[in-house]
């Protein structure tokens, strides 16, 4: 049996709540302005638990601003962020009329409802089983964001939560693309979310020596490609996009931001946390994505890098980009937006896809901040400090997302 004819898939709605802003437009504006979402945390975790990191890229707008009181009680923060982003994206798309059976929801989290999990455990230990709340399981389950978005919109074509650590948000968008191409849905609301700024995961990331310890300069801490980078800055938030078959979008006269033209997936099968130093998996994901999109290196003008600001990861990726694009690398404008947003883990791939979509739509690549002294081994032209204009005509951009476990996802975005 052959697959149905490939259907073009376009982006018609965007939503987000991030360390840079409470919605997609304010987040994008702050990114173009080169703002940092990192700040010193307002808590005593350092004194109380000895956590060596005192800052994070915390969400800019309290979710209770946009949610009802019962929603804030019934949803883990990771679901709250996803709901805010999904509602915005849905309205931004013009709240399309679509049969529920043709509407999908794919919303991922890398870690799941960890606040709920740990609060439940605290309650059990301190006050006994009778005080553990009945909603605990539906709140902590990692499919909760996808389930609530599906409930909200009546999405019956399927509700899915693909989990691949820090690639989860991008994989969700790739899965949404596949659902539409396979003819299982006409519209899919997809993205990623994370809410892990809790002392336990921060202690755990600190234990793995992957977090920046630049406590005296939170805004300067996330510095991908700078020689003095010392690890990532943990962030939180969500980004959601509305994907739609081009046919469906055209029929209702929808505004189109860009096309999601291809997805490439691979697994390193090398190490549980370190990327394959030869970048074989990353290269495979990018090659598959470009082939899937039907574009070549000559078309690629922009890459939104995974670049978390770790010593090893950042350089492995730039070598992989050069392996894939060869001389075409020289006309790429590389952006490492985690320099501003911090690392949203399961939300990162979706937020960076959103940035890539906006970059293609507005022909403007966002800056990479905090690069004082570029790493001499950086092999790709980097957008620093100010946004860079992208060329007219048909263009392609790639968003890379990699996750602990060796998951690689590359999304290719083209102009509509």
């Amino acid at each position: 049996m052959t697959a149905p004819a490939t259907r073009d898939v376009v982006v018609t709605g965007l939503g987000a709540t991030t360390p840079l802003g409470g919605d997609a437009p304010s987040t994008w504006a702050a990114a173009l302005a080169g703002e940092s979402g990192a700040r010193t945390m307002d808590n005593d975790w350092s004194e109380k638990y000895g956590i060596p990191v005192t800052f994070a890229a915390t969400i800019k707008e309290d979710p209770s601003e946009k949610l009802s009181r019962p929603e804030t009680k019934r949803m883990d923060p990771s679901t709250q962020y996803a709901m805010i982003a999904a509602r915005e994206a849905w309205q931004d798309a013009g709240a399309p009329e679509v049969d529920g059976e043709r509407l999908g929801a794919v919303v991922s989290s890398g870690i799941g409802g960890i606040w709920t999990t740990l609060d439940g455990w605290d309650t059990l230990r301190e006050r006994g089983a009778r005080r553990v709340l009945p909603m605990t399981v539906p709140m902590l389950m990692p499919n909760s964001p996808a389930a609530y978005v599906s409930l909200e919109l009546g999405a019956q074509a399927g509700a899915h939560a693909l989990v691949s650590a820090c690639a989860s948000g991008a994989e969700a968008i790739g899965y949404g693309l596949d659902m539409i191409r396979a003819g299982r849905a006409d519209v899919v609301v997809c993205g990623g979310t994370e809410a892990t700024i809790h002392p336990m995961p921060i202690a755990a990331f600190a234990a793995s020596r992957t977090l920046s310890l630049r406590n005296d300069d939170p805004q300067g801490a996330s510095r991908p490609y700078d020689v003095d980078r010392d690890g990532f800055v943990i962030g939180e938030g969500a980004a959601v996009v509305v994907l739609e078959s081009a046919e469906h979008a055209a029929a209702r006269g929808a505004r189109v931001y860009a096309k999601i033209a291809g997805v490439g997936l691979s697994a390193d099968a090398y190490h549980i946390t370190s990327p394959d130093p030869e970048g074989k998996g990353q290269v495979a994901a990018m090659r598959r994505s470009l082939a899937d999109a039907g574009v070549t290196g000559a078309d690629v003008v922009h890459v939104n890098a995974h670049a978390t600001s770790t010593k090893v990861g950042d350089l492995t990726e730039t070598r992989s980009i050069r392996t894939v694009l060869g001389e075409d690398t020289d006309h790429v404008r590389l952006s490492a937006t985690k320099s501003m947003t911090g690392h949203l883990l399961g939300g990162a791939g979706a937020l960076e896809a959103l940035f890539t979509i906006k970059a293609v739509h507005e022909r403007l690549a966002p800056p990479t901040i905090n690069v004082v002294t570029p790493d001499p081994e950086l092999q790709v032209p980097l957008v620093r400090d100010e946004p860079a204009t992208l060329p007219d005509g048909d263009i392609a951009a790639v968003n890379n997302s990699f996750g602990f476990g060796g998951h690689n996802v590359a999304l290719t975005v083209t102009n509509a």
Binding site: S68, R130, R131, M135
Partner: protein, 82 residues
């Protein structure tokens, strides 16, 4: 110190309002939790958990199904106080 029935009603109304988003003045004795207030079983158990905590009583699962109205719950809690 035992709570009076009006204190229990007031406290219960706050718990129900938190859980459902209904205004506290909608939570009156004659209202049925399921038919009038649209409270499902999971929400009902959440309300019971908070009520036990707030009033220092135990409401066994077998009793919960007998608590049809807000008034039933107030009466049960009042009687269960020691």
């Amino acid at each position: 110190m035992a709570h009076t029935s009006s204190e229990i009603l007031e406290g219960l109304a706050e718990i129900v309002a938190e859980e459902t988003g209904l205004p506290t003045d909608a939570v009156v004795p004659e209202k049925s939790f399921t038919d009038d207030l649209d409270i499902d079983s999971l929400s009902m158990m959440t309300i019971v958990t908070h009520a036990e905590d707030k009033f220092g009583v135990r409401i066994p699962d077998d009793e919960v199904k007998n608590l049809t109205t807000v008034g039933d719950a107030v009466k049960y809690i009042e009687g269960a106080q020691s």
